[in-house]
Protein backbone atom coordinates (compact mmCIF):
# COMPACT_ATOMS: atom_id res chain seq x y z
CA UNK A 1 0.00 0.00 0.00
CA UNK A 2 1.28 3.44 -0.93
CA UNK A 3 0.25 6.42 1.21
CA UNK A 4 1.43 9.81 0.05
CA UNK A 5 1.57 12.81 2.35
CA UNK A 6 0.89 16.07 0.54
CA UNK A 7 -0.42 19.57 1.14
CA UNK A 8 -1.36 22.59 -0.87
CA UNK A 9 0.43 25.04 1.37
CA UNK A 10 4.09 24.55 2.26
CA UNK A 11 5.25 24.29 5.86
CA UNK A 12 2.07 22.69 7.20
CA UNK A 13 3.76 19.54 8.50
CA UNK A 14 4.09 16.99 5.66
CA UNK A 15 7.47 15.82 6.88
CA UNK A 16 6.32 15.80 10.51
CA UNK A 17 3.42 13.52 9.55
CA UNK A 18 5.25 11.26 7.09
CA UNK A 19 8.21 10.71 9.43
CA UNK A 20 5.82 10.00 12.34
CA UNK A 21 3.86 7.51 10.24
CA UNK A 22 7.01 5.72 9.11
CA UNK A 23 8.58 5.58 12.59
CA UNK A 24 5.31 4.35 14.12
CA UNK A 25 5.13 1.48 11.64
CA UNK A 26 8.83 0.67 12.31
CA UNK A 27 10.11 -2.20 10.15
CA UNK A 28 6.75 -2.57 8.41
CA UNK A 29 7.30 0.60 6.37
CA UNK A 30 9.47 2.44 3.89
CA UNK A 31 9.80 6.21 3.82
CA UNK A 32 10.32 7.87 0.45
CA UNK A 33 11.23 11.56 0.39
CA UNK A 34 10.01 12.91 -2.96
CA UNK A 35 10.42 16.57 -2.01
CA UNK A 36 13.62 16.51 -4.06
CA UNK A 37 14.07 20.28 -4.17
CA UNK A 38 14.54 20.35 -0.42
CA UNK A 39 14.47 16.82 1.03
CA UNK A 40 14.42 17.08 4.82
CA UNK A 41 13.01 13.79 6.13
CA UNK A 42 16.62 12.59 6.53
CA UNK A 43 17.13 15.18 9.29
CA UNK A 44 14.63 13.28 11.43
CA UNK A 45 15.34 9.75 10.19
CA UNK A 46 19.16 10.06 10.27
CA UNK A 47 19.50 7.13 7.86
CA UNK A 48 22.61 5.21 6.90
CA UNK A 49 22.95 5.72 3.13
CA UNK A 50 24.11 2.56 1.38
CA UNK A 51 23.42 3.18 -2.32
CA UNK A 52 23.53 6.19 -4.61
CA UNK A 53 22.43 6.57 -8.25
CA UNK A 54 22.80 9.56 -10.56
CA UNK A 55 19.70 10.94 -12.31
CA UNK A 56 20.15 12.28 -15.81
CA UNK A 57 17.92 14.31 -18.08
CA UNK A 58 17.95 13.84 -21.83
CA UNK A 59 18.91 16.88 -23.89
CA UNK A 60 19.29 17.04 -27.67
CA UNK A 61 22.69 17.13 -29.31
CA UNK A 62 22.80 18.42 -32.89
CA UNK A 63 25.01 16.76 -35.50
CA UNK A 64 25.83 19.88 -37.53
CA UNK A 65 27.10 17.70 -40.37
CA UNK A 66 23.66 16.15 -40.86
CA UNK A 67 21.52 19.20 -39.93
CA UNK A 68 20.09 21.02 -42.94
CA UNK A 69 18.68 23.91 -40.85
CA UNK A 70 15.09 23.07 -41.83
CA UNK A 71 13.84 24.44 -38.51
CA UNK A 72 11.42 21.60 -37.72
CA UNK A 73 12.97 20.98 -34.27
CA UNK A 74 12.66 24.63 -33.25
CA UNK A 75 9.06 24.79 -34.45
CA UNK A 76 8.04 21.66 -32.56
CA UNK A 77 9.75 22.63 -29.28
CA UNK A 78 7.12 23.81 -26.80
CA UNK A 79 9.75 25.45 -24.57
CA UNK A 80 11.85 27.43 -27.09
CA UNK A 81 14.83 25.28 -26.20
CA UNK A 82 16.07 25.16 -29.81
CA UNK A 83 16.67 28.03 -32.23
CA UNK A 84 17.62 27.52 -35.87
CA UNK A 85 19.52 30.35 -37.51
CA UNK A 86 19.54 30.14 -41.31
CA UNK A 87 22.58 30.51 -43.59
CA UNK A 88 23.44 34.06 -44.58
CA UNK A 89 25.80 35.29 -47.27
CA UNK A 90 29.26 34.63 -45.84
CA UNK A 91 27.94 33.23 -42.54
CA UNK A 92 26.97 29.63 -41.94
CA UNK A 93 23.69 29.07 -40.11
CA UNK A 94 23.43 26.94 -37.00
CA UNK A 95 21.01 25.11 -34.73
CA UNK A 96 21.52 26.00 -31.07
CA UNK A 97 20.22 24.21 -27.98
CA UNK A 98 19.35 25.77 -24.62
CA UNK A 99 19.69 22.75 -22.30
CA UNK A 100 18.22 24.45 -19.24
CA UNK A 101 14.99 25.22 -21.14
CA UNK A 102 14.66 21.62 -22.42
CA UNK A 103 12.02 19.40 -20.76
CA UNK A 104 13.44 16.24 -22.33
CA UNK A 105 10.28 15.33 -24.26
CA UNK A 106 12.24 14.09 -27.28
CA UNK A 107 9.93 15.66 -29.89
CA UNK A 108 12.85 17.33 -31.69
CA UNK A 109 14.57 13.96 -32.18
CA UNK A 110 11.36 12.33 -33.29
CA UNK A 111 10.54 14.95 -35.92
CA UNK A 112 14.03 15.64 -37.31
CA UNK A 113 13.83 14.51 -40.97
CA UNK A 114 17.62 14.16 -41.20
CA UNK A 115 18.08 12.17 -37.94
CA UNK A 116 20.57 14.84 -36.97
CA UNK A 117 19.62 14.94 -33.26
CA UNK A 118 21.01 12.52 -30.70
CA UNK A 119 20.19 12.09 -27.03
CA UNK A 120 22.77 13.42 -24.61
CA UNK A 121 22.60 12.80 -20.87
CA UNK A 122 23.01 15.60 -18.38
CA UNK A 123 23.20 14.86 -14.64
CA UNK A 124 20.49 16.78 -12.78
CA UNK A 125 20.37 15.03 -9.41
CA UNK A 126 20.67 11.78 -7.53
CA UNK A 127 18.77 9.10 -5.65
CA UNK A 128 20.00 7.85 -2.28
CA UNK A 129 18.89 4.63 -0.66
CA UNK A 130 19.48 3.63 2.94
CA UNK A 131 17.83 2.53 6.17
CA UNK A 132 17.35 3.22 9.86
CA UNK A 133 17.00 0.04 11.88
CA UNK A 134 14.32 -1.89 9.96
CA UNK A 135 12.89 1.18 8.23
CA UNK A 136 13.80 1.49 4.54
CA UNK A 137 14.55 4.99 3.31
CA UNK A 138 14.92 6.53 -0.18
CA UNK A 139 15.33 10.19 -1.11
CA UNK A 140 15.96 12.21 -4.23
CA UNK A 141 18.06 15.34 -4.51
CA UNK A 142 17.77 17.80 -7.37
CA UNK A 143 20.99 19.68 -8.13
CA UNK A 144 21.00 23.36 -7.21
CA UNK A 145 20.04 25.53 -10.18
CA UNK A 146 18.06 22.80 -11.94
CA UNK A 147 14.40 23.60 -12.63
CA UNK A 148 12.86 20.21 -13.34
CA UNK A 149 12.24 17.88 -10.43
CA UNK A 150 9.79 15.31 -11.92
CA UNK A 151 12.55 13.19 -13.57
CA UNK A 152 14.30 12.87 -10.17
CA UNK A 153 10.99 12.07 -8.43
CA UNK A 154 10.21 9.35 -10.99
CA UNK A 155 13.68 7.80 -10.47
CA UNK A 156 13.13 7.78 -6.70
CA UNK A 157 9.82 5.97 -7.15
CA UNK A 158 11.36 3.41 -9.52
CA UNK A 159 13.63 2.30 -6.67
CA UNK A 160 10.81 1.61 -4.21
CA UNK A 161 8.81 -1.57 -3.94
CA UNK A 162 5.28 -1.53 -2.59
CA UNK A 163 5.42 -4.84 -0.70
CA UNK A 164 5.47 -3.04 2.66
CA UNK A 165 3.59 0.14 3.51
CA UNK A 166 5.22 2.95 1.59
CA UNK A 167 4.99 6.49 2.95
CA UNK A 168 5.76 9.18 0.35
CA UNK A 169 6.69 12.66 1.55
CA UNK A 170 5.52 14.83 -1.37
CA UNK A 171 6.58 18.37 -2.29
CA UNK A 172 4.15 21.21 -1.47
CA UNK A 173 1.78 22.80 -3.98
CA UNK A 174 -0.42 21.36 -6.72
CA UNK A 175 1.92 21.39 -9.76
CA UNK A 176 3.89 18.80 -11.79
CA UNK A 177 6.29 17.72 -8.98
CA UNK A 178 3.33 16.95 -6.68
CA UNK A 179 1.57 14.98 -9.41
CA UNK A 180 4.78 13.02 -10.10
CA UNK A 181 5.12 12.24 -6.38
CA UNK A 182 1.54 11.17 -5.56
CA UNK A 183 0.66 9.48 -8.86
CA UNK A 184 -0.06 5.80 -8.21
CA UNK A 185 -0.78 6.24 -4.50
CA UNK A 186 -3.58 4.24 -2.89
CA UNK A 187 -4.37 7.08 -0.51
CA UNK A 188 -3.25 10.63 0.10
CA UNK A 189 -3.00 12.32 3.49
CA UNK A 190 -3.37 16.09 3.11
CA UNK A 191 -1.72 18.01 5.91
CA UNK A 192 -3.07 21.47 6.57
CA UNK A 193 -3.18 24.12 9.25
CA UNK A 194 -6.42 25.80 10.35
CA UNK A 195 -5.63 29.22 8.86
CA UNK A 196 -7.13 31.02 5.83
CA UNK A 197 -3.92 30.29 3.85
CA UNK A 198 -3.99 26.65 4.86
CA UNK A 199 -7.64 26.29 3.88
CA UNK A 200 -7.24 28.09 0.55
CA UNK A 201 -4.45 25.73 -0.51
CA UNK A 202 -6.18 22.68 0.98
CA UNK A 203 -9.14 23.31 -1.33
CA UNK A 204 -6.77 23.46 -4.33
CA UNK A 205 -5.17 20.18 -3.24
CA UNK A 206 -8.55 18.44 -2.89
CA UNK A 207 -9.45 19.55 -6.43
CA UNK A 208 -6.23 17.97 -7.70
CA UNK A 209 -6.93 14.69 -5.89
CA UNK A 210 -10.50 14.57 -7.19
CA UNK A 211 -9.08 14.87 -10.72
CA UNK A 212 -6.45 12.20 -10.06
CA UNK A 213 -9.10 9.96 -8.42
CA UNK A 214 -6.94 9.31 -5.36
CA UNK A 215 -8.92 8.96 -2.10
CA UNK A 216 -7.81 11.34 0.62
CA UNK A 217 -8.25 12.52 4.17
CA UNK A 218 -6.99 15.50 6.11
CA UNK A 219 -4.64 15.93 9.07
CA UNK A 220 -5.06 19.27 10.80
CA UNK A 221 -1.71 20.29 12.23
CA UNK A 222 -1.27 23.11 14.78
CA UNK A 223 -4.89 22.54 15.71
CA UNK A 224 -6.16 25.23 18.07
CA UNK A 225 -4.60 28.15 16.23
CA UNK A 226 -6.45 30.04 13.47
CA UNK A 227 -10.16 29.34 13.11
CA UNK A 228 -12.70 26.54 12.72
CA UNK A 229 -13.28 27.00 8.99
CA UNK A 230 -11.02 24.12 7.94
CA UNK A 231 -12.93 21.66 10.11
CA UNK A 232 -16.23 23.08 8.83
CA UNK A 233 -15.06 22.71 5.22
CA UNK A 234 -14.11 19.06 5.78
CA UNK A 235 -17.41 18.26 7.49
CA UNK A 236 -19.47 20.00 4.84
CA UNK A 237 -17.71 18.11 2.04
CA UNK A 238 -17.56 14.74 3.76
CA UNK A 239 -13.75 14.74 3.92
CA UNK A 240 -12.48 12.54 6.77
CA UNK A 241 -10.33 14.36 9.33
CA UNK A 242 -7.81 11.63 10.14
CA UNK A 243 -6.06 13.34 13.01
CA UNK A 244 -5.57 16.66 14.75
CA UNK A 245 -2.11 17.54 16.04
CA UNK A 246 -2.37 20.29 18.65
CA UNK A 247 -0.53 23.60 18.42
CA UNK A 248 2.00 22.96 21.19
CA UNK A 249 5.30 24.68 21.87
CA UNK A 250 6.87 21.38 23.02
CA UNK A 251 6.16 19.77 19.62
CA UNK A 252 7.77 22.72 17.82
CA UNK A 253 10.79 22.49 20.12
CA UNK A 254 11.38 18.81 19.45
CA UNK A 255 10.93 19.44 15.70
CA UNK A 256 13.59 22.12 15.79
CA UNK A 257 15.95 19.63 17.42
CA UNK A 258 15.41 17.19 14.54
CA UNK A 259 13.26 14.81 16.54
CA UNK A 260 9.97 13.29 15.50
CA UNK A 261 6.76 13.68 17.49
CA UNK A 262 6.61 9.92 18.12
CA UNK A 263 10.13 9.87 19.60
CA UNK A 264 9.50 12.63 22.13
CA UNK A 265 5.76 12.09 22.65
CA UNK A 266 5.24 8.31 22.38
CA UNK A 267 1.55 8.72 23.22
CA UNK A 268 1.03 9.84 19.59
CA UNK A 269 2.36 6.57 18.17
CA UNK A 270 -0.98 4.82 18.71
CA UNK A 271 -2.83 7.56 16.79
CA UNK A 272 -0.50 7.25 13.79
CA UNK A 273 -0.76 3.44 13.74
CA UNK A 274 -4.54 3.77 14.01
CA UNK A 275 -4.53 6.22 11.08
CA UNK A 276 -2.70 3.71 8.87
CA UNK A 277 -5.02 0.89 9.98
CA UNK A 278 -8.07 3.00 9.12
CA UNK A 279 -6.61 3.89 5.73
CA UNK A 280 -5.83 0.22 5.06
CA UNK A 281 -9.41 -0.80 5.84
CA UNK A 282 -10.68 1.92 3.51
CA UNK A 283 -8.25 1.07 0.67
CA UNK A 284 -8.81 -2.68 0.85
CA UNK A 285 -12.59 -2.53 0.94
Amino acid sequence: MIISVASGKGGTGKTTVSVSLALSLKDKAKLIDCDVEEPNAHIFIKPIITEEYPVCAIVPEIDSGKCKLCGKCGEICEYNAIAVMPDKPGVKGQTIVFSELCHGCGACMYFCPKLAIKEKERKIGLVQKGYRAGLGFIQGKLNIGEAMSPPVIREVKKRMSAETTVIIDAPPGTTCPVIAAINGSDYCVLVTEPTPFGLNDLVLATELLEKMKIPYGVVINRSGMGDGKTMAYCQKNGIPVLMEIPFRKEIAMSYSRGRSIVEDFPEYEKSFIQMVDNIRVYVEK
Binding site: Y79, N80, A81, M85, P86, I96
Partner: protein, 126 residues
Amino acid sequence: MKICITAQGDSLDALVDPRFGRCKYFAISDTESLMAEFIENKDKDGMGGVGVGAGQLMADKGVEAVLTGNIGPNAHRTLQAGNIKVITGVSGKVIDAMNRFAKGELKSADGPNVDTHFGEKGEVPK
Protein backbone atom coordinates in the same frame (compact mmCIF):
# COMPACT_ATOMS: atom_id res chain seq x y z
CA MET B 1 18.71 46.94 -44.23
CA LYS B 2 15.97 45.24 -42.28
CA ILE B 3 15.76 46.19 -38.61
CA CYS B 4 13.42 45.53 -35.68
CA ILE B 5 12.52 47.95 -32.92
CA THR B 6 10.69 46.63 -29.86
CA ALA B 7 7.62 48.82 -29.35
CA GLN B 8 5.05 49.46 -26.63
CA GLY B 9 2.35 50.20 -29.23
CA ASP B 10 1.62 49.57 -32.89
CA SER B 11 2.50 52.99 -34.31
CA LEU B 12 5.71 54.81 -35.21
CA ASP B 13 4.96 57.31 -32.42
CA ALA B 14 4.82 54.54 -29.81
CA LEU B 15 7.63 54.28 -27.25
CA VAL B 16 10.43 51.77 -27.61
CA ASP B 17 9.72 48.78 -25.34
CA PRO B 18 12.66 48.23 -22.95
CA ARG B 19 12.07 44.46 -23.13
CA PHE B 20 13.02 42.23 -26.05
CA GLY B 21 11.37 38.82 -25.56
CA ARG B 22 8.46 40.32 -23.64
CA CYS B 23 7.87 43.49 -25.64
CA LYS B 24 4.33 44.29 -26.78
CA TYR B 25 5.09 44.70 -30.51
CA PHE B 26 7.96 44.06 -32.89
CA ALA B 27 8.25 46.91 -35.40
CA ILE B 28 9.96 45.43 -38.46
CA SER B 29 11.26 48.18 -40.65
CA ASP B 30 13.55 48.89 -43.55
CA THR B 31 16.11 51.66 -43.11
CA GLU B 32 15.29 52.97 -46.59
CA SER B 33 11.51 53.16 -46.35
CA LEU B 34 10.90 54.46 -42.78
CA MET B 35 7.73 52.36 -42.67
CA ALA B 36 7.16 49.53 -40.27
CA GLU B 37 5.20 46.31 -40.00
CA PHE B 38 3.96 45.79 -36.42
CA ILE B 39 3.83 42.21 -35.19
CA GLU B 40 2.06 41.62 -31.89
CA ASN B 41 4.23 39.55 -29.51
CA LYS B 42 2.05 36.56 -28.63
CA ASP B 43 4.75 35.15 -26.32
CA LYS B 44 5.10 38.20 -24.12
CA ASP B 45 3.54 36.44 -21.11
CA GLY B 46 5.15 33.06 -21.81
CA MET B 47 6.66 30.98 -19.01
CA GLY B 48 10.21 31.02 -20.31
CA GLY B 49 12.39 30.90 -23.38
CA VAL B 50 10.59 33.91 -24.87
CA GLY B 51 13.88 35.60 -25.76
CA VAL B 52 14.91 32.56 -27.81
CA GLY B 53 11.52 32.56 -29.56
CA ALA B 54 11.80 36.28 -30.31
CA GLY B 55 15.33 35.73 -31.64
CA GLN B 56 14.01 32.97 -33.90
CA LEU B 57 11.32 35.36 -35.19
CA MET B 58 14.03 37.91 -36.04
CA ALA B 59 15.93 35.28 -38.05
CA ASP B 60 12.74 34.10 -39.79
CA LYS B 61 11.92 37.70 -40.76
CA GLY B 62 15.43 38.33 -42.07
CA VAL B 63 16.10 41.09 -39.53
CA GLU B 64 19.74 42.24 -39.47
CA ALA B 65 19.70 44.53 -36.41
CA VAL B 66 17.54 44.66 -33.26
CA LEU B 67 16.99 47.97 -31.44
CA THR B 68 15.70 47.55 -27.88
CA GLY B 69 16.17 48.60 -24.27
CA ASN B 70 17.59 45.44 -22.74
CA ILE B 71 18.59 41.98 -23.83
CA GLY B 72 18.92 38.79 -21.76
CA PRO B 73 21.54 36.04 -22.14
CA ASN B 74 19.45 33.51 -24.08
CA ALA B 75 18.14 36.11 -26.53
CA HIS B 76 21.64 37.48 -27.00
CA ARG B 77 23.08 34.03 -27.71
CA THR B 78 20.31 33.36 -30.26
CA LEU B 79 20.79 36.67 -32.09
CA GLN B 80 24.57 36.27 -32.06
CA ALA B 81 24.24 32.78 -33.59
CA GLY B 82 22.09 34.33 -36.29
CA ASN B 83 24.65 37.09 -36.88
CA ILE B 84 22.02 39.69 -35.98
CA LYS B 85 23.29 42.96 -34.48
CA VAL B 86 21.91 43.98 -31.08
CA ILE B 87 21.59 47.59 -29.97
CA THR B 88 20.54 48.09 -26.34
CA GLY B 89 19.76 51.19 -24.29
CA VAL B 90 17.40 52.52 -26.96
CA SER B 91 14.49 54.61 -25.68
CA GLY B 92 12.10 57.32 -26.87
CA LYS B 93 9.81 57.02 -29.87
CA VAL B 94 10.12 54.21 -32.41
CA ILE B 95 10.39 56.68 -35.30
CA ASP B 96 13.23 58.57 -33.57
CA ALA B 97 15.12 55.32 -32.91
CA MET B 98 14.78 54.45 -36.62
CA ASN B 99 16.12 57.85 -37.65
CA ARG B 100 19.04 57.71 -35.22
CA PHE B 101 19.95 54.23 -36.45
CA ALA B 102 19.81 55.37 -40.08
CA LYS B 103 22.21 58.22 -39.23
CA GLY B 104 24.62 55.73 -37.62
CA GLU B 105 24.18 57.16 -34.12
CA LEU B 106 23.49 53.80 -32.41
CA LYS B 107 26.17 51.22 -31.56
CA SER B 108 25.99 47.45 -31.08
CA ALA B 109 26.01 45.87 -27.61
CA ASP B 110 28.84 43.49 -26.67
CA GLY B 111 26.72 41.17 -24.58
CA PRO B 112 23.49 40.70 -22.64
CA ASN B 113 22.74 43.52 -20.19
CA VAL B 114 20.00 41.90 -18.10
CA ASP B 115 19.40 38.43 -16.65
CA THR B 116 16.83 35.87 -17.85
CA HIS B 117 13.17 36.57 -16.92
CA PHE B 118 13.76 40.35 -16.98
CA GLY B 119 10.47 42.12 -17.67
CA GLU B 120 8.37 39.18 -16.51
CA LYS B 121 6.14 41.26 -14.21
CA GLY B 122 3.90 42.28 -17.09
CA GLU B 123 4.57 46.01 -16.72
CA VAL B 124 7.01 48.12 -18.64
CA PRO B 125 10.14 48.23 -16.42
CA LYS B 126 11.30 51.71 -15.43
